[in-house]
């Protein structure tokens, strides 16, 4: 399914883009992340346990930062297991200035879920996915702040 969303993030655009396009930093921003392993410049795998209203789902995912334009765009693809179901996604994020040290982030994603979760989540996949994206962005903003970027 196609999912779109947007969010206002408390981090400056360049700094946020740097995080999103760097596997090492992006991995840390994943919700409920347990372990990240890097695989080259643009790839990483993560073991995460995102919390949703349905509880925790154990996810093992491989990600690739597939395309990037400095400070304004990043495209990330990912696939892997969510419980016994398969998740694959491709998200394009566009970043624009959002005022003092803030970024307006908007995204378009193609998300495919296969297995029993596709049935359980079919009504809420869109909002759930957007919720997770927002959490990643907010976590990323906290990392940016912590690293004292800007």
């Amino acid at each position: 399914m196609i999912v779109t969303g947007s969010s206002s993030v408390a981090a400056p655009r360049e700094r946020l883009w740097q995080l999103l396009s760097d596997p090492a930093q992006l991995g840390e921003a994943l919700p409920g992340v347990d372990a990240v392993s890097l695989d080259g410049d643009n790839r990483f795998s993560a073991l995460a346990r995102p919390r949703t209203s349905l509880g925790e789902t154990r996810m093992e995912m491989n990600f690739e930062i597939a395309e990037q334009r400095p400070s304004e765009y990043v495209r990330i693809s990912g696939s892997g297991y969510a419980g016994e179901s398969l998740l694959s996604l491709m998200i394009e994020l566009e970043l624009a200035d959002g005022g003092a040290a803030r970024t307006e982030a908007s995204w378009r994603a193609e998300v495919a879920l296969r297995g029993v979760l596709s049935s359980l989540l079919q009504r809420s996949l869109g909002p759930l996915f957007n919720q997770q994206v927002e959490e990643v962005l907010d976590a990323g903003a906290r990392i940016c702040e912590g690293a004292g970027g800007g």
């Binding site: 154990r58 419980g83 016994e84 179901s85 398969l86 495919a112 879920l113 296969r114 297995g115 029993v116 596709s118 049935s119 359980l120 079919q122 009504r123």
Partner: protein, 828 residues
């Protein structure tokens, strides 16, 4: 209302018992109830075997994918995991299952798990046997399966196009079966009729009866004896044995099947033999019993669905007086990813070619196809459901388009009470019935005139009232020879059921039957007929609960399915009881020094008709034969065992493959329903204001049980009509595989059902009864007709058997949409 026994030119004369009467026909309270009410039933998950392990299946999330590799090493390393099983191993351990389809589809390779390729979402690809269900699930999550996703096909008609991905390469296409059934001369009828009504498309949707207890089994392949014990809730165990045996190379004499209580079957627990096979293989590999209980999502995604059938290019020739001459149609039945019980569905509908009507000219061009969806199973009403819905939609649409009164049009075209036994265009014999009377009763029950008035008054109120009629048949007692119409090479014909009625050592009357009841009350009704024949009370008759192969009371078709117990099961019980009666009388006469004609049976005693004081209780008869036999004359002792087995065999011959004709079912019960609905113009929501069901099933052995079956079938039909539909997306993902999203009808959805019945005894059965449990699916056509009746002038045809509020909303607005209505009338 009863009818005299009819002429016997269709079947050899049947001796109808005149002994049924004291208890048969009364609503004796059920024997089963005490244990079920107290939670003392023994359902399969309640069973336990020493050293058992628990099974969890890893299932494909893809609807269509090549299985590249399966790595079980991390799983097997977990302490407490007893064994794993992969599709690759299965491919070595079993032969593909026997297929009923002729070539090329008969070449399909079907195994108990996916071998090489997964073909529907949820198909098992690997299995784990472990110490506990939780550990089995946790360990199964460590199994790594690598898939190569393939293109998915979910459209049951587009799947036959050359560009569609092929599910089974060994077949070469996704066509499972094709044939044309052509009776009478529909081309002549279309040319000569006063009107031809053309309907573009009607669609019967995919749903299931979803028994509340899911599939389950406890299977032990004993390493010492080589005997496989299956304790399962499969409802046709001997059919299962016939498939499992050759697949794993085990003789049926080395398989034991048993079940006691089954939480609903409705046909969905017939094709579970695949899971039984997987459990047997796991059990052998681990040297332990394997126990499995299906979860609800697994049941909804991967047990069995009802057939989905699309009807295209329907043409109906109608005379100006309203006589409908017949119809022609192209039918596409979507069987899902594997055939299993299919393609029997491609002929089973032919038990009711003209439905309740006197149509003479019918052509059905029938194609069965394969798609990346859950395989179908013989869901309640199997295959007749779809065809009868089509017919009733046709009748209703003809009435509406040509301006006939829906009641009068039906009565004009119905098979009339004086027509029975009625031979249909393909040689089936309808035994008895009276649809016009039933329709009148149903209309009375809902106060038809009163509701029509309310309908007129409700105009403009925002709520539209509609009244709909649905007529169906419940054809019962199959002639399995009809399988030869779809594949002349199949070694099946006729039908049968076995029963043993005996005296135990102290004269206890004991009955075993080859059936697998799932709530139909066999223990009670079998006791009723036995009691009548032996002159005792049902309390004195013990019918063994459930099914047990070790009781040696079964034939190839033993089980409980297809609306036949009252005929086959009770026919077998009656035959065995009569034999036992004969033996008891013989022994009693000898012991009393009387002639057999002087003897009668009453109250559990053998006595002189002329002097009731001279009597021997059954214990006396049994004790003599079993423990004191030297006191009997030698000839007599050699001729009685007090252990009487009987196989009831309906008088079928093999149908004709060339003409596709024959006697396909023995009995034809019927139901006529009427529904009053209220449609909300703003939301499309449909509320049922009133609902009536009138049933006819020949002589009723236990009226309350019969009525309960009518209620239950109506509940399933109403659920399907308004609330229940399996929805797949284009990725082959089942969108509603839990009860959160698959809305099984609740107590707020099924209305109070007004019930009435008439009795038209069957002349062809030993007891005048007809099988009746499936029901015929009348609510589906009834509610379609009611919704259609509520829609504004010019609205589109109600084309689908499932009408949720979204669809009704669209139909309400369809009159002004400008799109084609889906129906056209050509008049001369």
């Amino acid at each position: 209302m009863t009818r005299p026994a009819a002429e016997t030119t269709y079947y050899p004369a049947v001796e109808q018992s005149d002994r049924l009467g004291a208890f048969s026909g009364t609503s004796v309270p059920r024997v089963e109830d005490k244990r079920l009410l107290k939670g003392q039933g023994a359902f399969v998950d309640d069973l336990w075997m020493h050293r058992q392990g628990h099974v969890h299946f890893v299932r494909s999330p893809h609807a269509h994918a090549r299985i590249v590799s399966i790595d079980v090493s991390r799983c097997e390393a977990v302490p407490g995991v007893y064994a794993t099983l992969t599709g690759e191993e299965v491919g070595e351990l079993q032969q593909p299952y026997f297929q009923m389809a002729p070539e090329p589809a008969g070449a399909m390779k079907d195994y108990c798990m996916a071998v090489g390729k997964a073909r529907y979402m949820g198909e098992p690809v690997a299995a784990v046997l472990a110490e506990s269900p939780a550990l089995a699930r946790d360990a199964a999550a460590l199994i790594e399966v690598v898939y190569e996703p393939l293109e998915v096909i979910v459209d049951g008609i587009a799947t036959i196009e050359p560009q569609a991905p092929v599910l089974h390469e060994e077949i070469g296409s996704n066509v499972a079966w094709h044939g044309v059934y052509d009776y009478g001369d529909v081309d002549w009828a279309l040319e000569n009729a006063d009107h031809v009504v053309r309907i573009d498309r009607l669609h019967f949707h995919r749903f299931s009866s979803t028994p509340l207890e899911t599939t389950g089994a406890l299977v032990n392949w004993d390493p010492g004896t080589g005997v496989i014990e299956f304790r399962s809730n499969n409802q046709m165990p001997m059919f299962a044995a016939m498939f499992i045996g050759p697949a794993i190379g085990v003789g049926i004499d080395h398989m034991q099947f048993s079940s006691q209580d089954i939480g609903g079957g409705f046909g969905i627990k017939i094709t579970s033999y695949t899971y039984l096979t997987a459990l047997a293989l796991l059990s052998r590999k681990a040297g332990r019993p394997a126990k499995w209980s299906e979860t609800r999502w697994e049941h909804l995604a991967a047990s069995a669905h009802g057939n989905e059938r699309t009807f295209l290019d329907i043409e109906v020739p109608v005379m100006s007086d309203g006589t409908i001459l017949g119809f022609k149609v192209r039918a596409f039945d979507d069987a899902g990813a594997y055939l299993r019980y299919e393609p029997l569905g491609a002929v089973i509908w032919a038990q009711v070619v003209p439905g309740n009507y006197r149509f003479k000219h019918v052509r059905v061009d029938y194609t069965e196809t394969l798609t990346n969806k859950c395989p179908v199973g013989p869901n309640r009403g199997y295959s007749r459901l779809q065809h009868l819905w089509l017919i009733e939609r046709i009748v209703d649409i003809v009435a509406s388009e040509l301006g006939y009164d829906p009641v009068e049009l039906r009565k004009l075209n119905y098979v009339q009470p004086e027509d029975y036994p009625y031979e249909t265009p393909n040689g089936c014999i309808y035994d008895s019935g009276d649809y016009p009377t039933m329709l009148d009763r149903a209309l009375e029950l809902i106060d038809y005139e009163g509701v029509r008035a309310r309908q007129r008054e409700s105009a403009g109120s925002g709520k539209r009232i509609g009244i709909g009629i649905g007529s169906t048949l419940d054809s019962g007692t199959n002639n399995f020879g009809q399988s030869r119409i779809i594949n002349p090479g199949l070694p099946f014909s006729g039908n049968g059921e076995a029963a043993v009625v005996r005296l135990d050592l102290y004269g206890e009357v004991s009955v075993t039957i080859g059936t697998t009841p799932q709530g139909q009350g066999h223990e009670t009704t079998a006791a009723q007929v036995t009691a009548d024949i032996l002159g005792c009370s049902p309390d004195q008759v013990h019918v063994a609960a459930g099914y047990n192969k070790a009781a040696n009371t079964y034939v190839g078709f033993s089980g409980t399915y297809a609306s036949q117990f009252a005929v086959t099961g009770l026919g077998a019980v009656m035959g065995a009881a009569e034999r036992l009666r004969g033996e008891i009388i013989k022994v009693g006469a000898a012991m009393l020094g009387a002639e057999e004609s002087d003897i009668e049976l009453a109250g559990g005693f053998v006595r002189l008709a002329a002097n009731h004081e001279v009597a021997i209780p059954f214990i006396g008869i049994a004790a003599t034969v079993f423990a004191n036999v030297a006191e009997l004359p030698g000839e007599l002792a050699d001729s009685v065992t007090l252990n009487c087995r009987y196989v009831y065999r309906p008088p079928f011959t093999v149908p004709d493959y060339e003409t596709k004709t024959g006697k396909l079912t023995l009995t034809y019960a019927s139901q006529i329903h009427v529904a009053v609905v209220e449609v909300d113009e703003e939301t499309g929501q449909v509320a049922i204001l009133d609902y009536a069901a009138v049933d006819e099933c020949g002589r009723k052995i236990n009226p309350k049980i019969v009525e309960g079956q009518v209620h239950g079938a109506a509940g399933h039909g109403i659920g399907a009509a308004l609330y229940e539909s399996f929805e797949y997306d284009s990725d082959g993902q089942l969108r509603n595989s839990t009860f959160m999203d698959y809305h099984a009808a609740t107590s707020l959805d099924v209305p109070s059902i007004r019930y009435d019945d008439i009795e038209c005894p069957s002349p062809f059965t030993p007891n005048g009864a007809k099988g009746m449990g499936e029901g015929g699916g009348a609510p589906l056509s009834t509610i379609c007709a009611a919704i259609a009746d509520a829609l504004p002038e010019g609205a589109h045809v109600v084309y689908d058997s499932h009408n949720n509020s979204e669809r009704v909303y669209e139909l309400l607005r369809s009159a002004t949409s400008g799109a084609p209505r889906g129906v056209e009338v050509i008049s001369r």
